[in-house]
Subunit: 199 residues, 2 copies
């Protein structure tokens, strides 16, 4: 059946996912993953031909995980504005991990860019999934102009908050920025008093 092998494969991916987030991709060795999963080092090559292949599987799993999560959000909230608030509040819900390890997506992309890794172009698709979802919510809110730009801006705002929070290990900064980001969403995106400021 290969059921047992597939289950182990999933456990390897899950362990690698967490370790890549906590320690970074390059800094995580096969031994690290093997220790967590509880299998032998060399046996890895039965499931994955190379370390890059694990990275590829982790990126795929993360993208799938994000899509599932966003579907759940869509079910949980009918109001697109509530969904966007929930997106921002993700920062609060994950504040401990963010303080310690930053953003799983942003920090991986930063690392892959540094090592000139070809898979950067796959990794940044994790952002794209969020972006597309954000665009849908903005559309539902009646935002007509510059929807894609606003969505990308949104993501960049979140990334900035995470980078600085992580660099200073400062949860308070994160908390006050979350408030400000919500205010921006209210004042500048949903109910722009004057003309649309996004140029």
């Amino acid at each position: 059946m290969g059921n047992k092998g597939e289950a182990l494969r999933q456990r390897i991916i899950a362990a690698a996912d967490e370790l890549f987030y906590q320690q970074g991709y390059e800094h995580t060795s096969f031994s690290d993953i093997a220790d967590v999963v509880g299998i032998s080092r060399g046996n890895f090559y039965y499931h994955f031909k190379s370390k890059d292949e694990i990275l590829n599987a982790v990126i795929g799993a993360r993208i799938a995980g994000i899509e599932v999560m966003l579907d759940e959000w869509d079910e949980k909230f009918t109001d697109p504005l509530q969904r966007l608030y929930y997106y921002i509040d993700m920062l609060l819900r994950a504040q401990e991990e963010i303080c310690l390890h930053g953003c799983p997506i942003g920090s991986l992309c930063t690392e892959l860019a540094k090592t000139n890794h070809e898979m950067l172009n796959d990794a940044n698709k994790m952002f794209t999934v969020f972006r597309d979802w954000l665009m849908v919510q903005l559309n539902l809110l009646g935002v007509k102009k510059n929807v894609k730009k606003i969505a990308m801006h949104f993501i960049a705002r979140v990334q900035g908050i995470v980078t600085v929070t992580n660099a200073f290990e400062d949860k308070e900064f994160l908390q006050q920025e979350v408030k400000q980001l919500k205010k921006w969403l209210d004042d500048e995106v949903v109910f722009p008093e004057s003309s649309n400021r996004q140029s």
Copy 2:
């Protein structure tokens, strides 16, 4: 005299600085630096006792370099608003490098956080130098409330732009975000129409 030795020490720091930016700290080996400088590998330990000591020297050199740069900006522009524009335009001036390697400060902090490196608390001082300078300029502009928060917010905005630009290797995104950041500076910080939005 030790003059020759000191000169070489400076060349090592400069080479390490550039390589750490382009390749990351962990991913840069002694051999890499030695090749660039043109000296033997083992001889490193005459000038630096460990790799961490080079990192320490690089951080120190960067902080000194930033301080010199900001002093030059202060001389070049008398208007604090012009100085802040020039700060934002730094993104445009460095857009090629940002696309390829991100922010020298942000990406280093991200990496050090991942490896639980003690020197993160020294590295984030590079941000602090910018923050303090920003606070001075904001004060000169007559901003009285939340000056520190606005300065940190400023830095986070820049970091977000850099992270996304780097992840997507997208200079156009950087360019449009620069425009938006200037608009924010004008509308929300310098001439806030309604009440001060920074809470």
